[in-house]
């Protein structure tokens, strides 16, 4: 059976940075309307709705706000990686004939609300509360810090190598007018910034900003009136490995090993085919492990791989081209904005940060406590 190809036909960012004149729902609505307009569609066309972190019952409150009563609804909580997984699910639902126009939307005001937490557990009987939080482990920061420490111990990775990732993100952010942090930084700045949880420094850690976005997944037929070129979804995959950090089988291998294999296999590509990479950068170590697990370099080689500006403008693997969660925007869950940037790169509309001749883009989400991963491969027909 020949499956109908699925496309991302519209994308939009919500207002970004510090947003005082919107609610989360109104931000998501503004972005959704804009993304649908790009796709040549309206809210009346939407028959599938996807969101995470938009309140109790997920899509239900958002659906009411948008006036959408879907025939396919998905609020799967894969943390920041939910959104690449939503693309995966939307493609599967379109293939199965269960929907034709999928709207994925998200917004957060973590900065103005000061609501990002170091601890996620209020119930003292949860396994996390009993066996992690009682030791003062800050989530997710402490989890990622111990992953970085193990990678350093096992492979000799250095803080300077991790810092290269933050420096690359900032160099891209300097080219993005919407980026929150645009002043150049150096490796010395990163390793000289305050240690938060060893070995992670302040500048190894993502921003806390308001933001979000929306995107539309649909068929070629329904995207025929799109204002801009629709981008084809070539592959998608997802996985998760653990919740408690002591349950992660190997601290140096993430769920990307599975999500990448699935997505690249579906697309029929390898890492060598990727022109632009949008990896989730909650922390610098998040990117390093994605590079290894997605096959851009071997296990343990991520540190050497990123040295010398590999990911930066002009480097051999343009990555974090929006400036990433480290420098552009990180609204708690960054995965949707990775997809927005990947689509804009493939359309050639990324302005000063455009990667010339980009044909294949990968958005790679990571969520939870390095728990989840989801990977989407985008290209053209």
């Amino acid at each position: 059976m020949k499956l109908r190809p699925a496309y991302i036909a519209g994308v939009a960012e919500t207002p970004l940075g510090e947003v005082w004149d919107h609610s989360e729902l109104s931000m998501a609505a503004v972005a959704s309307r804009e993304a649908l307009a790009e796709a040549g569609l309206t809210f009346a066309d939407v028959d599938a709705l996807f969101t995470n972190y938009m309140g109790e019952e997920g899509t239900v409150q958002l659906g009411e706000y948008l006036g959408v009563m879907p025939r396919y609804a998905d609020s799967t909580d894969l943390g920041g990686a939910a959104f690449e997984a939503f693309v995966h699910h939307a493609v599967a639902a379109i293939h199965a004939g269960r929907c034709e126009v999928a709207l994925i939307a998200y917004a957060s005001r973590q900065r103005t609300r000061r609501s990002r937490k170091m601890t996620r557990e209020s119930d003292n009987s949860s396994l996390s509360a009993q066996f992690e939080l009682s030791y003062g482990l800050p989530g997710p920061l402490g989890h990622y810090a111990m992953i970085a420490a193990r990678h350093m111990h096992q492979f000799g990775t250095t803080s300077e190598q991790l810092a290269e990732i933050a420096v690359a993100a900032r160099a891209w952010a300097a080219k993005n007018p919407k980026a929150w942090a645009r002043d150049p930084i150096t490796v010395s700045d990163v390793v000289g910034s305050r240690l938060i949880c060893d070995p992670l420094h302040r500048l190894d850690v993502c921003l806390v900003t308001d933001g979000g976005g929306a995107l539309v997944v649909t068929t070629a037929e329904r995207a025929r009136d799109a204002a801009k070129r629709a981008v084809r979804i070539l592959g998608a995959g997802e996985s998760h490995t653990h919740w408690g950090i002591a349950q992660m089988p190997d601290l140096t291998v993430t769920a990307a090993a599975v999500s990448g294999r699935e997505a690249f296999g579906m697309a029929g590509i390898t890492a060598a085919d990727v022109d632009v990479l949008e990896p989730y950068d909650s922390f610098t170590i998040t990117v390093l492990l994605a590079l290894e697990d997605l096959g851009f370099c071997g296990k343990g080689e991520g540190g050497a791989f990123v040295e010398g500006g590999t990911l930066a403008p002009g480097g051999k693997l343009p990555a974090l081209t929006s400036g990433g969660g480290l420098s552009y925007n990180h609204p708690g869950a960054f995965g949707l904005l990775l997809l927005v940037e990947a689509v804009r790169q493939l359309r050639g509309e990324a302005g000063e940060r455009q990667v010339r001749g980009a044909e294949i883009a990968v958005a790679h989400g990571v969520g939870g406590l390095m728990s989840t991963a989801s990977t989407v491969v985008l290209g053209h027909d």
Binding site: M118, T119, N124, S125, S126, L127, A129, Q130, F131, E132, L133, S134, Y135, G136, L137, P138, L141, G142, A145, M146, I147, A149, R150, H153, R194, L195, I196, C197, D198, P199, L200, G244, I245, A246, Q247, L251
Partner: protein
């Protein structure tokens, strides 16, 4: 009372971990061991993750472990812990890993450590780990400390 489940007074409200916490009051570190394949596991589950046999036994662990990873936390997280302090993952000699604190002279990743206990006001003591008696960097496994 049996038809209302175990008495969890002074314990986390989780019936499945109550044996662990009751033993912790006596400074004994329990893990599960599969009665079929012998694999140890922690935290407890009603089946073996390796062979799926049901109802693993509770057994006392040696208290000897190796540091798998660690971080020094330099930000306030919970009122009971004043930064900086060290959170670690240790691999018990029996196999399972635990998240814990390292106390005393700071062990490095790969060092041998042994269990000791930190008393708490409202809950049972927590197993934490300190550098093994020989300095943690070689020699035979240290004698068990702090376990009764």
């Amino acid at each position: 009372m049996t038809d209302q489940g175990p008495d969890l007074t002074g314990l986390p409200a989780d019936p499945t971990t109550a044996p662990f916490w009751r033993a912790a009051r006596e400074h004994r570190l329990l893990v599960q061991r599969c009665r079929s394949c012998g694999t140890h596991q922690f935290y407890p589950r009603p089946f073996c993750l390796s062979c799926f046999e049901q109802d693993p036994d509770w057994v006392e662990a040696s208290g000897h472990a190796t540091v798998y990873s660690k971080t020094t936390v330099r930000i306030p997280v919970i009122p009971e812990m004043t930064p900086p302090y060290v959170v670690a993952i240790v691999t018990l000699d029996e196999g399972p890993r635990l998240t814990t604190n390292l106390v005393g002279d700071e062990p490095e990743i790969g060092d041998r450590v042994s269990v000791t206990w930190r008393e708490r006001a409202d809950l049972p003591p927590l197993p934490v780990f300190r550098l093994a008696g020989d300095g943690g960097r070689g020699g035979p496994p240290p004698s068990q400390e702090g376990a009764g």
